[in-house]
Amino acid sequence: MSPLPGYNVLREQDRSHMLDKIGVDSIDHLLDFIPTDLRLQNPLDLPDPMSEWQLTRHLKELAAQNENTDSHVCFLGGSVYDHHVPEVVNYIASRGEFLTAYTPYQPEISQGLLRVLSDFQLVVGRLFDIPVVNCSVYDGATALAESAWMAISASSIHRLIVSDNIWPEHLAVLQVYMANRKVEIELIGHDAHSGKIDQADLDIALQQPAAAVIAQSPNCFGIVEDLKEVIHNAHQHEALAVIGCYPTSLGIIEAPGTHGADIVYAEGQSLGLSLAAGGPTMGMIGTRESLTDYLPGRLVGETKDIKGESALALIKQEREQHVRRDKATSHICSNQALMALRSLVYLSLMGENGLRRVATLSAQKAHHLCAELERIPGISRSYQGPFFNEFCLDLTVNTATLLDKLRQQGFHAGINCSANNKDAQQRILIAVTETQSLATLDHFATAFAQTIDQIS
């Protein structure tokens, strides 16, 4: 007898019994309410089914074709980073109870998951220093777009002032999300010396009413912004301050909430999520209590069961699409709950000291490498503002050629920013995390110098 196809579990005798109970004599008869001319006549055009060992071999062959952080030293950043992911995070996130649960609509059998999401709200609240945090959105880019819409909904002003040194991909997604909602996006420039927001530009933009000023720190050059000044300026003109951040950096850098940000958003990949070719990652949004009703997505809160005991549940669902439909704050339904779990486990493992050390080590190593590279003739720092763990260098050689040669030596040396910036012809963005050793950094610096020498 041949086995049942795929993961099907109804045997032929089961199907016969069930058809009898329904009162039809065949599957075709069961489906006879589907018009015959719509029924597919041929089998689907798919490969023959694979056994587990064939599938494993096939996937291993595909995976083996991809360079990755095991084959190449990774100095790539740009909103996702090669930080260490503790094995405890993988272990907890692979537990089937969490992995195979749905959204906790039935709170009585989801208290464990609800506690995770509730604690995620609280722990991220501390990290961002802002009271209210939702249970996540898709990624940093959509977190920005949703945050911008919150500000527009709260202010009824359809104009955003956006710093031009946020991640280009985030800006691209913001533009798509706002395109059909009658929103004006005004880009403001950055200072060519420091790499920070051009305050004069911001002042001019703020002469017209705006829903929000959107800024990111560290920005897309890796430079830490003067958030206090930016936020103060926004508030002076009654615009909300929507601030993007890099969660790991908050181990040592003052949180946007501390400076008075109204909405804080982030790409959460650095908190215990694998690189995974860029997804799934996690979008994070926090805000002041007065803006809670504009938040997209899930919120968890404490209530009581019928015995009067404390219990957790999804709350404030009247904001959401399944209740409010076209008047909802967002369409989001499935979000990134498992990624929120991962980041909560990560932050619990790190704690006060651990996150500080991860941030400090990343910064120490990045600054060491930057200093080594700056000694190479023809290389200069693009901007003089203070950077965290990522920095831009201007080159006198062709960046693409340099990257290609270094790749042949086992390095993914950085992101080529030559095409999309006004300030320099040849530019590279390099990120360093806690995972690179001193020997690796020095070896890379030597390779970098030699390669530049070769191609100059």
């Binding site: 795929g6 990755n68 464990g112 909602r181 003052e254 979000n335 001193l438």
Partner: protein
């Protein structure tokens, strides 16, 4: 709170309760860097003294989260017949294969030609999805179903922009998922609602009256969220196309159709698929999902960038230079590891396997419907697709209480009005939507049916047990009119939020 000996009720314990100063961060060391001294130029701006993060030992973290997992119900623990959510078995092999270093350790900003295996997989998956759905081209970028909807609607917008037609209305059946109207609003459309007939199908007459030059399209789920196949679909598609409008397919219920009927053949122009439903990727307690969006050939130029496509010379590439594209929907390429699991699922099943999936999903739902008909009569007197909408109106007990009692017998409650991602109009306020899925054996289905009957018998014998259920969980019933307080920092003021 003493860490380590809180054997029960981890749910009552927050990570802050388990915090002990000085714990955490062990092993974050480097022989060559002290991890303490800030770089000179960073020091003036790196002034944060404290984050307030909890401080736990590794073993306390493992124990706490393991206990929390034990207080969470997933498909791995029992049947989960949550209508419209397709909570089927999630194959373990797929989880492992998606985490191979050649996938999980790839940085998305690597050179495009450094990940040919990934492009091959994407291209194959796009082709397989096209084969299953009868569409011509796919983007794998959308992060979840609702995100796929937004992508599809923006593609529809681009189409009419290129025709220089200004159409501002999207038609949506009253039974649609809430995400449909929400996504339509986000893409700048006005929603108009089409009523459902007493037979449970779209009111074609009402729809025809609403058709005019302003209608961009109709979003439809077929089978609908009422579990019924709409036999008028060809007529609906023809009427829309005659009006110059497009037809959007919400793929939330595609599990009923694989190998049997294809959305593309029914006349749909744009679709999305929820991989975390039909294609078995784990739902993770609320995501991440993935929502690939498929289109007919004439809409292909509008797909979001990058488009993964094969050149004339056979090389598969990520194309960015697409002047007509709607733009970028999210960072990078999509939920890669989720998509890998969907790919593995398709390859493990093959054509026969997938057809059997849909046949068995429909068979199981009808078996439940027939077996419970005396107790919970079907709302519509006809055979259903992969889920059945049964009426609890004759029960003499609140269906909300009824389904909570199922928890005590190991069955996850089905979908009720206002209790999930499905929207029901008030006409069905005592209805329950049961989706058993094809991965429950006949023995499990029979057991589920027996549990429904057991609860029904209690209505007369032990009504109190139903009204106060569940009894086997650590918390008792949670009802909607209790005040609720948002979990937030400094939550000293009561919020007016209610659970709902």
């Amino acid at each position: 709170m003493t860490p380590g000996i809180t054997l029960k009720s981890a749910r009552r314990v927050s990570v802050f309760d388990l915090s002990q100063p000085g714990m955490g961060g062990s092993g974050i060391t480097d022989p060559d860097f002290d991890g303490e001294t800030l770089p000179t130029e960073l020091a003036p701006v790196a002034t944060r003294a404290k984050t307030g993060l909890p401080e736990l030992s590794e073993i306390d973290v493992v124990r706490h989260f393991t206990r929390l997992s034990q207080d969470t119900f997933g498909v791995d623990l029992g049947p989960y017949p949550l209508g419209s959510c397709t909570m089927k078995y999630n194959p373990k092999r797929n989880d492992t294969l998606a985490e191979l270093p050649g996938f999980a350790h790839v940085h998305p900003a690597q050179p495009a030609d450094s990940m040919p295996g990934l492009w091959t997989l994407f291209h194959q998956l796009q082709n397989h999805l096209a084969a299953i759905t009868g569409m011509d081209a796919f983007t794998l970028q959308p992060a979840a179903g609702a995100h796929g909807e937004l992508t599809g609607l923006l593609i529809i917008r681009r189409h009419f922009e290129s025709l220089k037609q200004n159409r501002s209305v999207i038609l949506i059946p009253d039974s649609a998922h809430g995400t449909n109207p929400a996504s339509a609003a986000m893409s700048g459309y006005i929603c108009k609602i089409i009523p459902t007939t007493t037979e449970g199908t779209l009111d074609v007459g009402a729809m025809r009256e609403m058709l005019n030059d302003d209608v961009a399209g109709l979003m439809m789920t077929n089978p609908s969220t009422l579990g019924l196949f709409d036999p008028n679909i060809a007529e609906i598609a023809a009427a829309l196309h005659e009006n110059g409008s497009l037809l959007y397919y919400d793929g939330a219920n595609l599990n009923a159709l694989m190998g049997l009927v294809r959305p593309g053949d029914m006349g749909f122009d744009v679709i999305h698929i929820n991989t975390h439903k039909t294609l078995s990727t784990p739902h993770g307690g609320g995501g991440p999902g993935a929502g690939p969006c498929g289109v007919k050939a004439f809409l292909e130029p509008y797909l979001p960038i990058p488009v993964i496509t094969q050149d004339d010379d056979g090389e598969i590439k990520a194309q960015f230079d697409r002047p007509l594209s709607v733009g970028r929907m999210k960072s990078y390429f999509g939920h890669v590891t989720i998509l890998i699991k969907a790919y593995c699922y398709i390859l493990s099943n093959g054509a026969e396997g997938l057809r059997t999936v849909s046949e068995n999903a429909v068979l199981s739902a009808n078996y439940i419907q027939s077996s419970l008909a005396d107790l919970l009569p079907p709302v519509f007197q006809q055979r259903c697709m992969h889920e059945c909408l049964l009426s609890g109106g004759d029960l003499d007990v609140d269906p909300f209480d009824f389904v909570k009692r199922l928890i005590d017998f190991g069955v996850h409650p089905p979908t009720l009005v206002g209790a999930g991602c499905v929207h029901f109009s008030d006409d069905y306020d005592a209805a329950m939507l049961i989706e058993p899925t094809e991965t429950e054996s006949l023995a499990v289905l029979d057991d589920m049916i027996a549990q429904f009957r057991k609860v029904a018998r209690e209505v007369e014998l032990a009504r109190y047990m139903i009204e106060t259920a569940p009894h086997t969980t650590d918390v008792a019933k949670i009802i909607t009119d209790e005040p609720a307080f948002l979990s937030m920092l400094e939550a000293d003021k009561p919020s007016s939020a209610k659970t709902s």
